[in-house]
Every structure is written in C-alpha cells, then in structure tokens.
C-alpha cells in the first residue's frame, strides 16, 4: 500500500528560511510543495487557490501576520507555525496546545512536527486551532487596530478608524465603512472584547457603533431608541444599550 501524498505551502518572508523548510521536505517524496510565499497577502491567495494539506507558516511577516493569514482561510490547512522569537505567540501556542517550530530548529524536531501534522490531515476540521482565539491570546491585552477580510480572493485590511458600525448577521459580521460593507465570518461577541471600549460600544445585541459617528438618539413610536449616525444610518438601540450609551456619554 502506498502512502498518501500531501500538498504543502511554505510561507516566510525570508528566502533562506523558506529554503531551510524546503530542504527538510526534500527528504519526503510523499510531500509536494505547491508554492512558497513571502508575504501575508500572497499566502492567502495561494492557500485559497491551491488548498494545500499542510501549511508552514511564519508569524511575523509583511502585510498580514501569520494569525491573520490563517483567520482568512477556509478550509484551514493543518498548520505548522514557525517563529523566531515572539513571546506572545509562544504563549498562545502553549495555551491552545498548538505544535510549533522555533527558529532555528533541528531535523528531529522538524520530523516530529511533520509527523504530527500528517497525522492530523486525516482528522476532522475540529483539531485545527481557531486563529481568532489564538490571536486573542497572542495579542493579549492589546486591542485590535485593524481587521482583515477576504472578499473572494481579495484581501482587505480595514483600519478600525474607518469603521462606522458593525452588524451581526448570523455567523457573520458586517463591517461598515463609508465606502462599503465587508462581510467576515466571525461572531460579534468574539469581536467586541478586542475593540477599544472608549471608541466602540455595543448598543444592541446585533450592533456595535463607533462612538464618534453618533449624531443623536431618537425615540421611536414604540418607545424604543435609535442611534442616528453621521452617514444618516439609523441603528437600533436596546434598553441595556441605551443605559450603556448614557453612561459613556454622560447624561447629555
């Protein structure tokens, strides 16, 4: 019986670092390298297109970091994280029991990680770590300053300052900027704690608004409230949302 084959994608911004992974993989005829990428955008594009089984992923990279890359991929390949020294990332790996390689790594260590990863390839999706949870641990205490989304194969980086409001739509959130709305597969509750509470407020079960976009509060006929934003959008405000708003804005 012949062993199954695997496709692999190598992502690292340093050519020598990629060469090292390639060299180790050369010992494994069952693994076929489908592409190498030098930055986050390229990685997302290649992975979406080629759908590799295995992903060798550096954390610190231009454009998007490793966590952001993984966040945008669906399905997610079995991932082997590789990093030189990132205390926060290491902590995240420990917390979520993710296997990783530390630069520089030994051949034995590489083989071990590869074996583990190959084993996971047959398993169900659930063994893949949730990149959102990983990033939250890795950037612990640090609030988000941007959100990455993918429309088809296009990756967009949205600086939070450009967001007007966020709306929950089932398993997705709609991220609304002045230009357009972006859909991202994430729950509004997992997003909320990573936003600056001084700038964003959950005014409703399904809505978070950027506070400086708020023009006024209006009372509706049904005795509830709506928030009117600078672009004219009316966002429903729940009773508890109204209380939170009053608290943040003072009694005014």
């Amino acid at each position: 019986m012949t062993e199954r084959t695997y496709t692999a994608l190598i992502v690292d911004d340093e050519e020598l670092a990629r060469a090292l992974v390639k060299e180790h993989l050369a010992e494994h005829p069952e693994i076929r390298i489908v592409a190498e990428c030098g930055d986050g955008f390229e990685a997302v594009r290649a992975a979406s297109e080629l759908k590799p089984d295995l992903l060798f992923l550096d954390i610190q990279m231009p454009k998007l970091d490793g966590f952001e890359v993984l966040e945008l991929l669906d399905p997610r390949p079995v991932t082997i994280f590789i990093t030189a020294h990132d205390r926060h990332a290491l902590k995240a790996f420990e917390v979520h029991a993710v296997d990783y390689l530390l630069k520089p790594f030994s051949e034995e260590r590489f083989e071990e990680a590869l074996k583990l990863a190959k084993g996971k390839c047959g398993e169900s999706r659930s063994t893949t770590p949730d990149p959102v949870a990983l990033a939250a641990t890795a950037k612990e205490g640090k609030l988000l300053d941007r959100i990455v989304v993918k429309d088809g194969t296009r990756v967009t980086v949205i600086p939070l300052s450009k967001l007007d409001y966020i709306q929950a739509q089932d398993d997705y959130v709609l991220l609304k900027t002045a230009e357009k709305g972006h859909l991202k597969q994430q729950t509004i509750s997992s997003l909320e704690p990573r936003l600056d509470p001084g700038k964003f407020l959950r005014v409703h079960r399904s809505f978070i608004i950027q506070l400086d976009r708020l023009v006024r509060l209006e009372r509706t006929r049904t005795e509830s409230w709506v928030a009117v934003l600078t672009d004219g959008t009316k966002v429903p405000v729940s009773r508890s949302g109204h209380a939170r708003l009053k608290e943040v804005l003072g009694e005014g």
Partner: protein, 352 residues
C-alpha cells in the same frame, strides 16, 4: 559639624567680618573720645566675645528651618534668643571692661548694659542670617550632588537597556539563516557566523563607554547591516555614504543603532519586495549631518508622534549637545526619514 570648622575659607570670612565689626567699634569708641589704647582693647574684646559666643546659633538655625517653621515661632525664637545673647555679651563686655578699667564709670550702668546689649542683639541676628545663608548653600550643593548621582544612574540604566535591546528576534533569525546556509552555501554560513560574532563583540564592547567616536558606532552599524543583508538578500538595498571628517565626532554610545534597527523592522521587513535603506553622515561647517531614510509600506498605518525609541534618541542628543543638536523624524508617502545634526567637536568633556 559646624560649617566654620569644615571650611577654612568660610572661617576666614567669618573672622574678617568680626574684624570689621571691631574696627567700627573702635571708631565709635574714638568718637566717644576714648584714648587709643583703651579703645583698641575694648574693640578687640567686643569682637572676640561675639566671635566666640554667636556661632552657636548655627545649631538653632538647623533646628528652626526657615521654610517649615511658622513665622511667629521664628520671630519669637530669634528675638528672644537675640535679647538673651545680646544681654550676655553686653554683660561680659562690661564686666571685663570694669575689671580692666577700660570704660568711664557712666557706661557701667543699667543704661550702658541695655545700649550695648541692643548692639549685641543686632550683631547676633546678623550671625543668624549668615547661618541661614550657609544652610541654604549647603542644601543646594547637596541637591546638586544627588541630581548628579541620579543622572549618572539613569545613564547607566539607559546603556544597560540599550545593550539588552540586542533583540532576540534578530539573533534567532540570524541563527536560522546560518542553519539554512550550512547546506546551501557553507562558506556563506561561516561568513555569517563571523559577522554575527563580530557584531556581538562590538556591541558588548561599545556598551562599556558612554561616548564613542562616530567611526566606531558606524563599524557596528555596518556589521549589523551586513548580517541583515544576508537575511534579507536583495530585499535590502543599502546606500551608504560617510566622510572621514564626520567620523571624528564623539557621540553617545549606541545612538544610531536603534534607528537602523527600526528602519529594518518597521521598513524593509514589512515590504515583500524590500526597499532602499539610505545612510549618510557628512561634515559641514563644524557639524555632522546624519540622514537615515528607509522605504516603508505605504499601506501601513503611519504612527502618530515619535515612538519611544526615537524620543530616547532625541533626549540623548539634547543631553550631550543641548541646543547644539537638531533632530527630526517624519513619515513620507512610502518612506521614513530621520535627520539630525550635531557638532563635530562637542567643545568640552561633557557627558550625557
């Protein structure tokens, strides 16, 4: 210890003061038509007594600090003690004068004692004022010394921090490059090892001194850039231009190193296709003009204000050159520039 014992100059000044008082006393005695011999003796005794009796007020001055004692307490304390000491001085003076028959009998009376006493009290208050001046001076010297010590400590801490900044990310990535090179290009691997060792040795050595010639800092920068060159390959394109005159300047240790590290970390390393890092140091009219420019990702956020690292560089420049140095950092559309000037010759042995 009493400051008069500690400082000879102060003691001389103090005794000179009483000599002056003695001279004034002598002439007032002469005006009262005392014969020379009696007048001189009387003046000498008056000044001598005061010089011996009054310095003790120093300890009371320490006990009653000007700033923290309420004014009524101060006034009561000093008027009271001035009257007591003036009275004592006057009484001793009259007693000795009587014994040596220096004064005509009409001075050796109740009124005589009072009028001498008031003079004594006044002189006593002058001594008190002098002591306060001395104490204030001591305080300012003390605070100057503590300030200097603190500054020294801060500088050491700063250097230590700078040395610790040898960032681990750089080290581990360099080791990883070596690991990759060992099979691809063994000679390159060896070269990288030597460069890395060279860089480490230089930065450890440099950290021992607060001020170094620009030339030495630049060899460290070159070693650092040579290593990054291997890591980043053709993504890093260095344009280097330094003239010999500029290299003579003496600058605070590791002033430029963090800037170049930043240029790589936030500039070149964030660009998949890399970019140019331009460094120049030129001498002109007694000043060195340093310019560091690097490409950066135009889509990345422009940081607001100076980061910690840049602020520290600015502070260290000012610490050494005062207003003789200038510093500017700004983001361009697709780049970042740091420009500074400082004198080639700092003009003194000042240390930051």
């Amino acid at each position: 210890m009493h400051p008069l014992i500690r400082s000879r100059a102060l003691l001389a000044g103090y005794l000179f003061g009483w000599l002056a008082f003695g001279v004034v006393f002598l002439f007032s005695a002469r005006i009262e038509s005392a014969p020379w011999k009696e007048a001189i003796l009387l003046a000498a005794i008056a000044a001598g007594l005061a010089a011996v009796l009054f310095p003790y007020s120093y300890y009371s001055c320490r006990a009653l600090p000007l700033r923290s004692t309420p004014p009524p307490t101060l006034a009561a304390g000093w008027i009271g003690s001035a009257l007591v000491m003036g009275g004592l001085w006057s009484a001793l003076l009259l007693a000795i004068s009587k014994h040596l028959q220096l004064l005509p009998p009409h001075y050796l009376t109740w009124q005589g004692w009072v009028s001498f006493g008031l003079t004594g009290s006044f002189m006593y208050l002058v001594t008190v004022a002098m002591h306060y001046v001395i104490i204030a001076h001591q305080h300012s010297e003390e605070s100057l010394r503590t300030e200097q010590e603190l500054r020294e400590l801060a500088r050491e801490a700063e250097l230590k921090a700078l040395r610790a900044q040898l960032n681990p990310h750089f080290l581990f990535n360099s080791l990883n490059s070596i690991s990759a090179l060992t099979s691809i290009d063994p000679k390159g691997a060896r070269k990288m090892c030597v460069l890395l060792a060279d860089f480490l040795r230089k930065s450890l050595k440099l950290g021992e001194r607060p001020i170094v010639p620009l030339a030495e800092e630049l060899t460290l920068l070159r070693a650092y850039l040579d290593i990054e060159q291997i890591r980043f390959g053709n993504r890093l394109r260095v344009e280097w231009s330094v003239d010999a005159e500029a290299e003579k300047a003496e600058i605070p240790t590791l002033l430029l190193q963090p800037l170049v590290e930043n240029a790589i970390k936030h500039g070149i390393a964030q660009l998949p296709e890399g970019g140019i890092l331009r460094f120049s140091a030129h001498a002109s009219n007694g000043f060195v003009e340093v310019l560091l420019e690097n490409a950066r990702d135009p889509e990345a956020d422009v940081p607001a204000g100076l980061g910690m690292g840049l602020q520290q560089v600015k502070r260290r420049l000012r610490g050494r050159y005062g207003n003789g140095a200038s510093f500017e950092a700004k983001s361009l559309e697709a780049g970042f520039v740091v420009a500074m000037t400082f004198p080639i010759d700092a003009g003194d042995d000042s240390h930051d």
